[in-house]
């Protein structure tokens, strides 16, 4: 497991519409074969952005990824996002 592998998923889903569709269709299948810890894999599948933030996912692309894949109403998501990651402060995000 590495932060780089998490960041790679985040960026791919942001940049590539085909990857986005595959992730939204079946995230577990999309992530199969990638070198991720169980915690990272679950965090990505569940779009558990506070957990991924705490693990040191790059904050710039984690927020972009979350906005892109969020399955529910995005109104208020930005404020909720800030509130839920705040307890984790500023984790190191160096890969």
């Amino acid at each position: 497991m590495t932060r780089y592998q998490v960041d790679k998923v985040l960026r791919q889903v942001i940049n590539d519409d085909t990857a986005l569709e595959a992730f939204q269709r079946d995230a577990a299948a999309f992530l199969e074969g990638r070198d991720l810890s169980d915690e990272e894999r679950k965090g990505l599948i569940d779009i558990d952005y506070p957990a991924l933030y705490k693990l040191g996912a790059h904050p710039f692309i984690l927020s972009g990824f979350t906005m892109r894949v969020w399955p529910a109403d995005r109104r208020g998501l930005q404020a909720e996002y800030q509130e839920r990651i705040a307890p984790h402060g500023y984790p190191d995000f160096e890969t």
Binding site: Y4, D7, K8, R11, I14, N15, Y53, H58, P59, F60, I61, L62, S63, G64, R68, Y81, Q82, I85, A86, G89, Y90, F93, E94, T95
Partner: protein
């Protein structure tokens, strides 16, 4: 010999063009528009033949699989911004020829002045380039040479290295054989947070912004370099390391105080700075 004719540093805030164009912009946004119109006129008055544009890709193309600290782009033509930036921020596209002769010339001279630039023959320019170009040269009629810096993926080069690279680029330009008039346009920013606990809708650290712009205005490069540590910039906001490009500009300007400098705080977005050094032929300043 090439001649450096103007150095300008502004922001690449992707919300700013929309805020300026929107209905009933607030006074801070009107001021930003006026400031950047002034920067546009300054660059036009300098009559550059080519714009060397120094900015930082936002992990749109350079990524941790292969991250160059400093890279010169030398494809014949380039365009941007990234598709997801057009989608997210509704940004206007920008296209430009690249001055290959200047790009190759800079690359060939770079090692002599202590910098080993990476290069790429295939790239695009993201909003860090297209937003300032849209403000300063919306005509898209001057070739550019993009220089990419890494401020996004730690460990990034420290502030004193950005200063040194600025000094080196100045010397590289001065030994270019072409008679081109070269303008420098760079984008960076002050305290900004994206995807962090602080709001992204205002300056993330007003004290940092005011302090750094005061030091830049005074030409106090030594203190800027000393204080612009990764830790201090991160404390100011998790994307604040983009400030490093302004440190590079100070190196390009021999550490001299800018001829024009300003800072404004609009109500609903990050601070809007500008800095400009006016250079003329024979001026070794």
């Amino acid at each position: 010999m090439a001649e450096l004719v103007e150095i300008i540093g502004i922001t690449h805030n992707p919300y700013l063009p929309g805020m300026i164009a929107g209905p009933d912009p607030e006074p801070g946004i009107c001021q930003a528009e006026a400031d950047y119109a002034r920067m546009r006129q300054k660059m036009a008055d300098a009559r550059p033949d080519v714009l060397v544009v120094i900015a930082s890709d936002h992990l749109n193309q350079w990524f941790m699989d292969n991250m160059p600290p400093f890279l010169i782009g030398k494809a014949p033509r380039t365009h941007g911004p990234a598709p997801q930036e057009v989608r997210t921020f509704r940004l206007t596209p920008y296209e430009a020829d690249v001055d290959i002769e200047v790009a190759k010339g800079l690359l060939r001279e770079s090692s002599r002045f202590g910098v080993d630039f990476a290069f790429s023959d295939e790239f695009f320019i993201d909003h860090a380039f297209t937003v300032p170009l849209g403000f300063v040269r919306p005509e898209m009629d001057i070739p550019i040479v993009p220089i990419f810096t890494n401020v996004m993926a730690p460990p990034i080069p420290p502030a004193d290295r950005f200063y040194q690279v600025g000094q080196a680029i100045r010397r590289m330009i001065e030994v270019l054989p072409s008679g081109r008039r070269i303008g420098i346009l760079s984008s960076g920013h002050l305290a900004v947070e994206v995807g962090g606990p602080k709001s992204s809708s205002y300056s993330a650290d007003v004290e940092f912004d005011e302090r750094m712009m005061k030091l830049i205005a005074a030409g106090d490069a030594e203190t800027v370099v000393k204080e612009a540590t990764w830790e201090r910039m991160l404390q100011a906001g998790n994307v604040t390391p983009g400030f490093s490009n302004y440190v590079l500009l100070m190196g390009l300007a021999h550490g001299r105080a800018p001829d024009a400098v300003g800072l404004h705080f609009p109500k609903k977005t990050a601070a809007v700075p500008y800095m400009a050094w006016d250079l003329t032929q024979g001026d070794a300043r």
